[in-house]
């Protein structure tokens, strides 16, 4: 391995701070602040599995569990939760995201490709504790007010779940 530079360390810290902040905002239901982490044209994808080893890749031809071509889809989710009228989201489960193995895979100072592993531990009164996890692949872009999320691709390991899934628990 080549020698680690201060610039690399600073970039890594900056990346982690954003990703950890997203988890913190979700777990604390600070959805308006959470939405601010995303660029307006941010893509958000969570594909379904096609078989034991293959994930769907084309959201317009194959099944995705969640796919938003822009941030408007995230805004719909927050709106729905805030109606307090969703049977599944009132009361909401308690959750804790845990993120690790953060690796910068490519890009430059202004456009960064990042991968990391995640688990969510959640507790709902009716169901008790549940855990699930997978990988996040992000593309982060630098704008006037720092790094923001341009793309989030969620690999969800299960193809069978016994709890509702929404932006707050994946």
């Amino acid at each position: 391995m080549s020698r680690i530079t201060d610039a690399e360390i600073r970039l890594h810290y900056e990346v982690e701070r954003l990703i950890f902040r997203e988890a913190y905002l979700l777990d604390n239901r600070m959805f308006d602040d959470w939405l601010d982490l995303y660029l307006e044209d941010a893509e958000y994808l969570m594909p379904a599995w096609i078989n034991e080893t293959t994930l769907a890749t084309d959201p317009n031809a194959e099944l995705f569990l969640i796919y938003f071509p822009t941030k408007a889809g995230l805004d719909d989710r927050v709106y729905r939760i805030n109606t307090r009228d969703s049977y599944a989201s009132a009361p909401m489960p308690r959750s804790a995201h845990v993120i690790g193995n953060v690796l910068i895979l490519g890009g430059d100072q202004d456009r960064i490709e990042v991968t990391c592993s995640w688990t969510v531990h959640q507790y709902a009164d009716r169901k008790g504790p549940r855990s699930h996890g997978g990988r996040y692949d992000y593309v982060l872009e630098r704008g006037d007010d720092g790094l923001k999320i341009a793309k989030k691709h969620i690999t969800f390991l299960n193809d069978r779940v016994d709890i509702p899934l929404d932006v707050y628990n994946v």
Binding site: M46, P47, A48, W49, I50, N51, E52, A56, P59, N60, A61, E62, L63, F64, L65, I66, Y67, A72, D76, R77, Y79, R80, T83, D85, S86, Y87, A88, S89, R126, K127, D159, R160, V161, D162, P164, L165, D166, V170
Partner: protein, 445 residues
């Protein structure tokens, strides 16, 4: 009186349906939702005795293609043979019983057991016994070790059903009055229909019968899915959506559009509602291709009416804002798996395919804007079923307006429901479900 604290006895099952419709009473004993003895009997007498949907032909197009699934509690392989026909075997090696497939879906012209290496043609014929000469020095008739065939496998317009009871009526006799409604989905493209890649499954901690009720329950739509309607209405306004990008939602407003429900016999049901904006349906673009094939009357049904079709007891064919195959698989008395696929007309435009998948994700997934709310409502219902002192669930709404036989719309289609009712949220259809349940659960001697 039966003892309410112990497991139900076999001769009590039919009494759990208190059918006195002529006196205005039809109710069911809620023990049928969580009693393990009832569940075991249902597996034998319903799921392993009548026709179960197993797969769509587009999922196994080529010789050797297979799907491993379950019929009742039993693992089965449904596969395409060399002659193009669809067949099925119990997914258990004739030697020790190990599963013969590593994957849920794949292609295998021969099935090789991964435990001791015995080998079978996909038809089930045993063609290799490892170290045959050492084990059987005097020779052996390998046909004694063929796989066990699934007694009945039949397909209707691409929808494959299996039945473990060799004496069951034919598939089309079983489906009977549902056939015109299956056609309304199956005939949406002259090139046929295809299941799109990828599926999702969710487990709901409720009895399978609650899932079966829910899929044709028009009554909850305006309550449980009120927030769905509110969310998509807001989105439609923000986007100024039109055409296929619009999510049509007239059915969420009671009385806004015409609706009805039919008890189609054999436990099968349909509920339908006119679409407020037929041009929002992804099928709308196919008018020139499909209308000449099916005629005006049927086309109007296909594009103008959202339909939830239950093929009792394990399949829903949903044609609402999007098109869904929903398979119900009971896991225990209080747990049910639901596996869902998007089915679409072959050859539709990219725009229609995109709109179809968008609307599918919105409504039909447990990661969407509607299905999670159904799941949790059903789990709450299951929890309430534990309240033994509150014994009965009534299915009595709509008795005064029920029509024996077809209503005017059904008559135009030449179909003969057992009973019809309007609006779609009346409980006529559940009477059909539970009469069928009682019929199947009664052991004939």
């Amino acid at each position: 009186m039966p003892d309410a604290s112990g497991p139900a006895q076999s001769d009590e099952f039919a009494q759990m349906v208190d059918d006195r419709a002529s006196e205005g009473q039809f109710r069911i004993d809620r023990r049928m939702y969580d009693d393990e003895a009832v569940f075991e009997a249902e597996m034998e007498r319903i799921f392993e005795a009548t026709w179960m949907y197993v797969a769509h032909e587009s999922q196994i197009p080529n010789a050797g293609d297979y799907i491993w699934t379950e019929v009742g509690r039993q693992p089965v392989i449904i596969n395409r043979l060399d002659d193009g026909s669809v067949s099925g075997v119990i997914n258990a090696c004739s030697h020790r019983g190990a599963l013969l497939t590593a994957n849920r879906q794949g292609n295998a012209r021969v099935l090789v057991c991964r435990y001791h290496g015995w080998t079978f043609k996909s038809s089930g014929e045993c063609i290799r016994i490892k170290d045959e000469a050492a084990g059987f020095p005097n020779g052996v008739d390998k046909s004694c070790y063929n796989l066990t065939a699934v007694p009945r496998v039949e397909s209707y317009k691409g929808f494959i059903f299996a039945c473990l009871n060799p004496d069951a009526p034919t598939l089309t006799e079983h489906l009977a009055e549902t056939l015109p409604f299956i056609d309304m989905l199956a005939d949406q493209s002259p090139d046929g229909m295809e299941v799109l890649p990828g599926s999702a499954a969710y487990v709901v901690d409720c009895n399978w019968k609650l899932q079966v009720e829910n899929g044709v329950d028009g009554y909850h739509v305006g309550v449980v899915h009120r927030n769905f309607a509110q969310t998509v209405r807001r989105r439609n306004e923000i986007n100024g959506a039109s055409g296929m990008k619009l999510t049509e939602n007239a059915r969420f407003d009671p009385g806004a559009v015409e609706t009805a429900c039919y008890d189609l016999g054999n436990g099968h049901n349909i509920i339908w509602s006119d679409r407020g904006a037929p041009e929002a349906a992804p099928l709308y673009e196919a008018k020139d291709k499909v209308l000449p094939e099916v005629g005006q009357e049927k086309w109007d049904w296909m594009v103008g009416r959202g339909r939830n079709l239950l093929l009792y007891p394990n399949l829903f064919l949903m044609d609402q804002s999007s098109t869904q195959i929903r398979i119900i698989r009971p896991l225990s008395a209080s747990s049910t798996e639901v596996r869902v696929y998007c089915i679409a007309p072959k050859g539709e435009s990219v725009q229609a395919r995109t709109a179809r998948l968008n609307k599918f994700r919105d409504f039909f997934l447990t990661s969407g804007l509607a299905t999670p709310d159904d799941s949790v409502a059903l789990e709450d219902t299951q929890a309430g079923v534990g309240g033994r002192l509150a014994k009965w669930s009534p299915f009595e709404r709509g008795q005064a307006t029920e029509i024996k036989g077809p209503d005017a719309h059904a008559r135009l289609l030449n179909i003969n429901p057992v009973a019809s009712n309007t609006p779609w949220d009346l409980e006529t259809i559940f009477v059909g479900q539970y009469r069928r349940w009682a019929e199947l659960m009664t052991v004939r001697t």
